[in-house]
Structures are given as structure tokens and as C-alpha cells.
């Protein structure tokens, strides 16, 4: 359990480096919900290939690395019904707020964007609330 924070820091630096590359090389914000959402609702048609390639690599690389024994297993903390409910909330919420953890949290805060900071504070708060609700309802393992 001890070296978890080191792995967290190293992984975090990689995430930040990826966002830095995407900004400096392609002039784009690395926001996962925005990149995906733009493909889904057609609002990102102008740079659809760039979005699709980014997402393909985002799915493929962890799958390959995981098979090579890197990282821990992805184990669900909720049942199917709760996962569907959570997916709906995340899908609507991130499109409405125009960003998620990567867009508002990483790219927004690092730019000292007021919107990014406020969005992050709000979703940390309701995220904590959701954990309490899940436990009260017996949805936590």
C-alpha cells in the first residue's frame, strides 16, 4: 500500500505530460468528455479523426500495458444498475458543464481558470456526497 502515492505521482506526471503534448503540438485541450462528446453529438465533426485516434490509443495502450502486468486490476465498486445510473449522470453532467476531471481538473486548474476551479470544487463535493449515499444505501462493497 505504501508506494501508492509514488505510482499516483508518476502516473499524474504522465497524464500532465500527455495534456501538455496535446496542447503544444496540436493546440487542443485534453478533455476526455469533450473529445468523446464531440464525436458522439457531431459538434466535433471538424476534427473527428484526431479525436478518434486519441480515443483509440487511450483504450488500446492501457489494455496492452495491463496484459504486460502494469497497474492494478480494474474492479467495479458497484453493480450493473448503479453503473448505468452513474454513466448517465456522468454523460449529462460533463456535457452540461463542458468538462470533466481532465478538462476542468487538469487543464483548467493549471491555467488558473475560474470555471475549472469552481467545477472541480463542486464535483469533489458531490462526489464525496455520492460515496456517503452509496454507503447508506448499501451500494458500496
Amino acid at each position: 500500500m505504501d508506494p501508492d502515492w509514488i505510482a499516483g505521482l508518476i502516473g499524474g506526471l504522465m497524464i500532465g505530460l500527455a495534456a501538455a503534448m496535446f496542447l503544444l503540438l496540436n493546440g487542443r485541450i485534453m478533455g476526455a468528455s469533450g473529445l468523446l462528446g464531440g464525436l458522439i453529438d457531431g459538434s466535433g465533426r471538424a476534427n473527428a479523426p484526431e479525436r478518434a485516434v486519441f480515443i483509440a490509443a487511450l483504450i488500446l495502450v492501457p489494455a496492452l500495458l495491463s496484459r504486460a502486468g502494469i497497474g492494478g486490476p480494474a474492479l467495479p465498486v458497484a453493480g450493473l444498475g448503479v453503473m448505468v445510473l452513474a454513466g448517465l449522470l456522468v454523460g449529462i453532467g460533463t456535457r452540461m458543464a463542458n468538462g470533466c476531471t481532465s478538462g476542468h481538473g487538469v487543464c483548467g486548474i493549471s491555467r488558473l481558470s475560474l470555471r475549472g476551479i469552481v467545477a472541480t470544487l463542486i464535483y469533489l463535493l458531490t462526489g464525496g456526497l455520492a460515496v456517503l449515499i452509496a454507503r447508506a444505501l448499501g451500494w458500496a462493497p
Binding site: A20, E50, G128, A130
Partner: protein, 137 residues
Amino acid sequence: MRLVFAALAGGLFGAGLLVSGMTQPEKVRGWLDVFGNWDPTLGFVLAGAIIPMAIAWRIAARRRASVSGTPFPEPPAPRIDRKLVLGSALFGLGWGLSGLCPGPSMATLGIGGLPFWAFFAAMVAAMMIYGYGRGRA
């Protein structure tokens, strides 16, 4: 070249999510579980991610355009509207219930099983419905 850069950034993002533990929903739950068995890992992930990006914004400020020629995105108007507040609140609820946000939900598609696909499918459906509603409005 843009597509190669996009693949590199997407791949590195995915690798970072895997290494940091963000693809393990119990870590996210642990970070949000302030009144329970609090796990500070995610704090290190966020701090680690913000540092290179803060440097990147400084570099961007001194250049006219990105390497590909696309101009850098303008900062959004610092407006806190209802959509930002309500949307972030809904997103946080879903994030806390599942321990998944959009990036990790895609990074786990090849690792996790059916529950991760269920989350992803619901998220895509919601984005479609929201986009459709907005298109009509």
C-alpha cells in the same frame, strides 16, 4: 502529423491513468471517502498532472500557435453559470457512485468487464440525448 501526435497523447494519457491507479475505481472512491477510510493517492495524481500542464500553458503564452499550426485555445470567459454548477454536481454524483470519470471509463474498456462497458454505454447514450436536446433547442 496531427494524428500521430493525437495517438501519442492519447496513449500516454491512458498509460498515466493505468499507472496512477485511476483505472481502479476503489482508489477514486477512497479519495472521495473523506469521512471513512481516506486514500490520498488521487491528490498526488492531480498534483502530478497539473505541474507539467502549468508549464505548458506558460510556454503556450509565449508562442503564436501550436507545432501543428492550430492556434492555442482562448481562455473561456470566467463566467460561473447554472449549467456549469448543475453539470459539475451531476458529474460528481456519478463519479462518486461508480469511481469512474470519462477518461478512465475509456481506459478500462480493454481491462475491466461488463460493468465498465455498461457505464460507458450509458455515458455515450446520455451524451447523445443531451446533444440531441441541445441541437433542437
